[in-house]
């Protein structure tokens, strides 16, 4: 475990440094408060600190205040070294954000025991953060596919709609539905159906960029937000995803299954000041149109004009939903 030791007195610093090294700590020793803040506020800075109270440039309590203001996660356990004995001083030190204090010159056994207490607190904090992150993930992601769940993907869509209006930028919305998925569940069972959904989620994720959003909208429906993708690229990108889904059979416990996907496409340039519900209604209608056209194809909610604009690479005519 790394520990920062800040003390301007070379004798005290050397003595403490050696004691801490003997106890197995990896010690970073500095001689003033400014250097202490620099180390502690680094992203990968030490999480244990032993700070002398009186130091040049910044005293121990000021270091505590700055660290608490600057670095929220992960938590740093800070112990003040002090020869101050008045209760008022101790209270002032703890109020500045220190977790503990120890009177100088310190007894080595007491120092080590107090630092072990600090380590226990840090370990407890790590467990709490881990549990919180686990719960946050569960609350925002679909448990089967690991994609964003319906609530989150709709929230992200709403945020993108607002941002697009504000910044006059663009994005494309895709709603995909696995073709004939019900028959997979009915004939191969739900376990195989789940395998198919997980594999499709992986394939969609692999065919979008890191800053696009993919969520599970419903049973076998997937919602994709392609950021900074304008109308001229929207059909091409939807085709890429459809091809990625259909490219190879999905390996399942029973046998490989060929799966295809139909997609509805809606580019942000095709709506102005529409509500989320209206936008979802339009892209859903485009998906319905793709299903009606024989499945395994993409359809735009607002087809472009021109003889070639509405044909996908699969030579399916791109027909508007309206």
């Amino acid at each position: 475990m790394r520990i920062l030791l800040a003390d301007d007195d070379a004798i005290s610093r050397t003595m403490l440094e050696r004691t801490l090294e003997r106890a197995g700590y990896d010690v970073i020793a500095v001689e003033n408060g400014r250097l202490a803040v620099e180390h502690l506020c680094r992203k990968d800075g030490p999480r244990l600190a032993l700070l002398d109270w009186v130091m040049p440039e910044l005293d121990g309590p000021s270091v505590c205040r700055q660290v608490r203001q600057t670095r929220e996660q992960p938590y740093v356990h800070m112990v003040l070294l002090t020869s101050k004995e008045s209760k008022q001083d101790i209270v002032q030190g703890l109020e500045s954000g220190a977790d503990d204090y120890i009177v100088k010159p310190c007894d080595a056994a007491e120092l080590k025991a107090r630092l072990r207490t600090g380590l226990r607190i840090l370990q407890l904090e790590d467990k709490l953060v881990e549990a919180r992150e686990d719960m946050r993930f569960k609350a925002t992601h679909d448990p089967l596919t690991g994609l964003f769940n319906r609530g989150v993907i709709l929230e992200l869509l709403a945020r993108e709609m607002t941002r697009t209006n504000r910044e006059d930028s663009c994005f494309t919305l895709l709603l995909g539905d696995v073709d004939h998925f019900k028959s997979i569940n009915d004939t191969r069972g739900h376990v195989v159906g789940d395998t198919v959904l997980k594999e499709i989620a992986c394939r969609i994720l692999a065919s979008v960029r890191s800053y696009d959003y993919v969520g599970r909208y419903g049973g076998e429906e997937f919602l994709v937000v392609l950021n900074n993708c304008d109308k001229s690229r929207s059909l091409f990108r939807a085709e890429q995803i459809a091809e990625a889904v259909a490219r190879a059979p999905v390996q399942t416990a029973s046998s490989p299954i060929t799966v295809t996907m139909s997609l509805g496409v809606l580019a942000s340039s095709d709506w102005k000041n529409r509500s989320l519900e209206e936008v979802m209604h339009e892209v859903d209608a485009a998906l319905y149109s793709a299903k009606g056209a024989g499945r395994n194809c993409v359809r735009s909610a607002h087809p472009q004009q021109g003889p070639e604009a509405n044909y996908s690479k699969r030579n399916n005519p791109i027909v508007g939903s309206q």
Binding site: I11, V54, K104
Partner: protein
């Protein structure tokens, strides 16, 4: 003027000092060398602060000296430095000369005792 007498006790608690360094004589030698290097600098800074009536600097330097002495189990010298720290905090400049003289008397005994302590421990 009162004569400044050093404490009658041994200036360094040798057992306490050895326990503090975990009987690491190499470390003890390093600490004594650091002490010999830093003590004249800190004493000069203290004299300067007192001469300039810079009570804040005098308090800070006295505090540093107190820490050095207590780290080396020199409790009487530590008490003298603490007295100066307290006087500086309350700007009681009339009491400075006596307190400073007492500190210097204590300090004069320290280095030989520290070196003797090293010799004894190595013998």
């Amino acid at each position: 003027m009162e004569v400044c007498k050093p404490s009658s006790t041994y200036p360094i608690n040798r057992d306490e000092l050895l326990a503090r360094v975990d009987h690491d004589y190499e470390l003890l030698r390093d600490l004594v060398n650091l002490f010999k290097r830093d003590l004249p600098l800190q004493m000069a800074a203290l004299h300067r602060a007192i001469a300039n009536e810079d009570h804040q600097a005098a308090e800070r330097t006295s505090h540093t000296l107190k820490g050095m002495f207590l780290s080396l189990a020199a409790s009487e010298a530590g008490a003298s430095a603490a007295k100066l720290e307290d006087l500086s905090r309350h700007s009681e400049k009339t009491a400075f000369p006596k307190a400073l003289a007492l500190l210097e008397t204590e300090v004069a005994r320290l280095i030989p005792q520290l070196e003797a302590c090293l010799v004894k421990t190595e013998a």
